[in-house]
């Protein structure tokens, strides 16, 4: 990470915990750049995370108040923090399994309640930390430790889910498009509504190897293809496409 | 009142049983008695049987539940049948004579309170305050003016005059029973 971002990290932290090729480092850097560009006061910001690889993006790395909670409960903890002290900026960073499976109910209710929370979901489409099991975001047919013949079920479309639950600001970015991602993160952090940013972030270790990617680079290339700009609504989307952007208007 | 008294007011959900019990408890505390009240609770209180129990004493109450009421007020046949056998020796049973067919020896203190409320006051809803008057008048356990004060705190202001009439009506009848 660029030296200019070091001031946002605890001095005790010397390495990130992420595997080689993990997208979460890019997300971490993008988030810190968004914070830097906005001039966010880190002493008045609380980062709340659940359990899983993505939950380790803020905790213990960020030099701010960090609340590393239970599996699935980050949004519920964050709701209590924000409601009890509305002057604090509250940013949740966690993974797809944490936020959308075990914590799915908290996510949709927080979107409905519309407290001023920013929820950033690092979506690697798999349970990374526990060894590569099927997630609610794993594409149908894809291989995981608990779907060795291919996931038989459909994945959640998280932006549609959260938007449907009432979130006023919903966006999807990807670590292969960091500058757009920083833009979405800045809007989400600035928003005084409930805001949600899904961030496509590859997991070469658990997902890439099982699904026959030769290298992390190959995963990033494929993600780049799937995240193409699909602004022309009449253009049929390729299979597995992940439209990026802000999804605030029907 | 010099010793522990147990009171059970029972009827059907919607008859104002719970409010009557709460009002009498509040009045007792206003005159520095000890009071402990419990209501039947749950689905029962909404259409089924309803019950409001009250224990009064001049000293601190240890066991706060009613076991053998010194006063039973039965506003329905079901309540009368269910609770009359448990009344303490020397206990008093008041009943709504329009709704309850009593049996000796507890057949003495009946009043058609529901009809009275409708005919005299033009409103069935104040029957429970007539009952409060009857209870206070018949037992002498409460200070009448304190009961009136508690009642005024419990009812909405626009119905206060109506409820004052209901209380007075009950007190008159109750006093007659108390003297009998």
């Amino acid at each position: 990470m660029a030296r200019s971002m070091e001031k946002y990290l605890r001095p005790e932290v010397v390495t990130t915990p992420f595997c080689p090729g993990c997208g979460h480092g890019v997300l971490m850097g993008s988030l810190l750049r968004a914070i830097d560009q906005l001039g966010v006061d880190m002493d008045q910001t609380v980062f709340v995370s659940g359990i899983g690889c993505a939950a380790w993006i803020p905790s213990p790395n960020f030099a701010a108040d960090t609340l590393h909670t239970l599996h699935g409960r980050a949004v519920a903890f964050a709701s209590g923090v924000k409601k009890a002290n509305p002057d604090l900026k509250v940013i949740v960073v966690s993974g797809d399994g944490d936020l959308a499976s075990i914590g799915g109910n908290h996510l949709i209710h927080a979107a409905r309640r519309n407290l001023d929370l920013t929820v950033i979901c690092a979506n690697n489409m798999i349970y990374g930390m526990t060894g590569g099991q099927m997630a609610p975001t794993t594409p149908q047919g894809h291989l995981t430790a608990t779907s060795v013949k291919g996931n038989p079920y459909r994945p959640f479309d998280l932006v549609k889910l959260v938007k449907g639950a009432g979130a006023p600001y919903v966006a999807r970015g990807a670590v292969v498009r960091p500058y757009e991602l920083i833009g979405y993160l800045k809007k989400a952090i600035t928003s005084t509504d409930f805001s949600f940013v899904e961030v496509m972030s590859p997991c070469p270790t658990q997902y890439g190897r099982r699904n026959k990617y030769d290298s992390p680079g190959a995963m990033y290339d494929r993600l780049g293809e799937l995240c193409g700009s699909f602004s022309d609504a009449s253009c049929p989307l390729p299979e597995g496409a992940l439209p990026l952007g802000e999804f605030n208007h029907d | 009142m010099t010793e522990r008294k147990e009171i059970r007011i029972a009827g059907l959900g919607g008859q104002g049983v719970v409010l009557a019990g709460a009002l009498l408890g509040e009045a007792a505390v206003k005159q520095d008695l000890y009071a402990a009240g419990s209501n039947s609770y749950g689905a029962q209180a909404r259409g089924g049987g309803a019950r409001s129990d009250l224990v009064l004493d001049v000293k601190e109450i240890d066991f706060p539940h009613v076991e053998h009421p010194d006063l039973l007020v039965a506003m329905s046949q079901g309540a009368y049948d269910l609770y009359v056998a448990g009344v303490a020796g020397g206990g008093m049973v008041l009943f709504d004579s329009g709704l309850v067919t009593p049996q000796a020896p507890h057949d003495r203190y009946g009043a058609d309170v529901t009809a009275l409320s409708l005919n005299e006051l033009g409103n069935r809803q104040v029957a429970n305050v007539i009952w409060v008057g009857l209870i206070v008048g018949a037992t002498g356990w409460w200070d009448e003016s304190v009961a009136a004060q508690a009642m005024a705190e419990f009812v909405p202001e626009r119905f206060l005059e109506l409820n004052k009439k209901a209380l007075a009506l009950g007190l008159d009848m109750g006093r007659a029973w108390g003297e009998a």
């Binding site: 213990p60 108040d65 960090t66 519920a76 908290h106 | 007792a28 009071a35 240890d62």
Partner: protein, 381 residues
């Protein structure tokens, strides 16, 4: 001392009040500034009260999507410096258990009012029970301590709620008010004091928030926004909150300190009262509502010439084992009436020495009558 006398913010004087309303007023008097909860019989009146009153008094209220979210929000709120609580009943306590362990492990003050009903499972939702005694102590995985207080009156629904807050804030542990449906829904004469004593959280800037050199120490507790860059985690951590998930010494020291900070202060925490104990041969050990039946029965037994006494446990957790051993020395027998199948009975047996212990259990959704306790005393005498 951070214990200070303040004017009681709720209506003082003689009142006729329900137990659940009194618990809510106790919370407000204790300085509660956050309530997160989910409706459940027979505790919901507490939540309704807090929804009406708390924001008027500068606090915050959140109705959450379930009990798991409720206790999570309460823990989050507590770290902002707000005294925080929830109220629930058995099924909700079951759902909250993982996060109660989180609160214990991260030393987060939280108060949980458990208005117990007849369990297990959905059971008889509107009926009384006292079956959560062990659940609140042992329900979350691993070793930890909590505080649990057992009120027997509407007056104590108020005063022990304040005490639960004071102990929770002082010890940095989850504290339970182990109430029962029969007390939550009882209306009773109470004398509300003009002033109350409340504990203000200890905070020394710059001190480690998760440990001290003292193996029974209670660390300073900063809040989010104080600029302390807090690291709160449910993983094993060092005194600054850094995860220490390898290394046996960290885990051992932390787990032992979390227990010792409570157990070493047992003499300051535990409260009880006694009736006719001086010359009692038969001692009824009771708590909560059942202690009222027991007091009535003990008085009747005395009238019948039986030397009976009542030992009422006000603090259930930590359990005052030394008290039981002490009383056992002068007693010929213990009787333990409970609205469960003998949860405190097992504890009494463990510390009663040679004194025989008789258990009187009732799980039919109604309170134990004085007559039942009196009959047992007569059989024992």
């Amino acid at each position: 001392m951070p214990l200070s006398k303040v004017s009681n913010p709720v209506q003082a004087g003689r009142r006729y009040l329900s137990g659940n309303d009194a618990a809510a007023e106790g919370a407000i008097a204790a300085g509660c500034r956050f309530y997160g909860g989910y409706p459940i019989t027979p505790s919901s009146e507490i939540m309704e009260y807090m929804s009406r009153e708390l924001e008027e008094r500068g606090g915050a209220f959140l109705q959450m999507e379930d009990e798991i979210a409720s206790i999570s929000a309460v823990v989050g709120a507590s770290w902002t410096g707000a005294k925080a609580m929830t109220a629930t009943s058995g099924p909700g306590v079951s759902l909250m258990q993982e996060c109660l362990g989180y609160a214990a492990f991260t030393e987060t003050p939280v108060v949980v009012v458990d208005v117990q009903r007849a369990g297990p499972c959905t059971g008889q939702a509107t009926k009384v029970g006292s079956g959560d005694i062990m659940a609140v102590k042992w329900g979350s995985h691993g070793d930890y301590q909590v505080v649990a207080l057992s009120p027997w009156s509407v007056q104590e629904m108020f005063s022990l709620t304040i005490e639960a807050f004071n102990l929770s804030e002082r010890l940095r542990v989850p504290a339970f008010l182990l109430a029962e449906e029969a007390t939550g829904h009882l209306r009773e004469r109470v004398d509300m004091p003009e002033t109350v004593e409340i504990y203000t959280r200890d905070y020394e800037p710059g001190q480690p928030p998760f440990g001290a050199d003292d193996p029974a120490g209670i660390p300073s507790m900063p809040s989010f926004g104080d600029g302390e860059k807090l690291l709160v985690t449910g993983s094993t951590h060092d005194q600054w909150g850094f995860r220490k998930t390898e290394g046996p010494a960290f885990h051992d020291a932390l787990v032992r300190r979390l227990s010792q900070k409570v157990l070493s202060r047992k003499n300051e925490i535990c409260r009880h009262d006694g009736y006719h104990l001086d010359d009692a041969e038969l001692v009824v050990v009771a708590y909560g509502f059942t202690a009222r039946s027991a007091l009535s029965a003990v008085r009747a037994a005395r009238s019948a010439g039986i030397k009976a006494g009542l030992l009422r446990l006000i603090t259930i957790w930590p359990f005052d084992n030394e008290l039981i051993s002490r009383v056992a020395e002068g007693a010929k027998g213990f009787l333990v009436p409970e609205m469960n199948l003998g949860q405190v009975d097992g504890l009494v047996r463990a510390y009663a020495g040679a004194t025989p212990v008789r258990s009187l259990t009732q799980v039919n959704g109604s309170t134990i009558s004085p007559a039942g306790i009196l009959a047992a005393l007569k059989e024992m005498s």
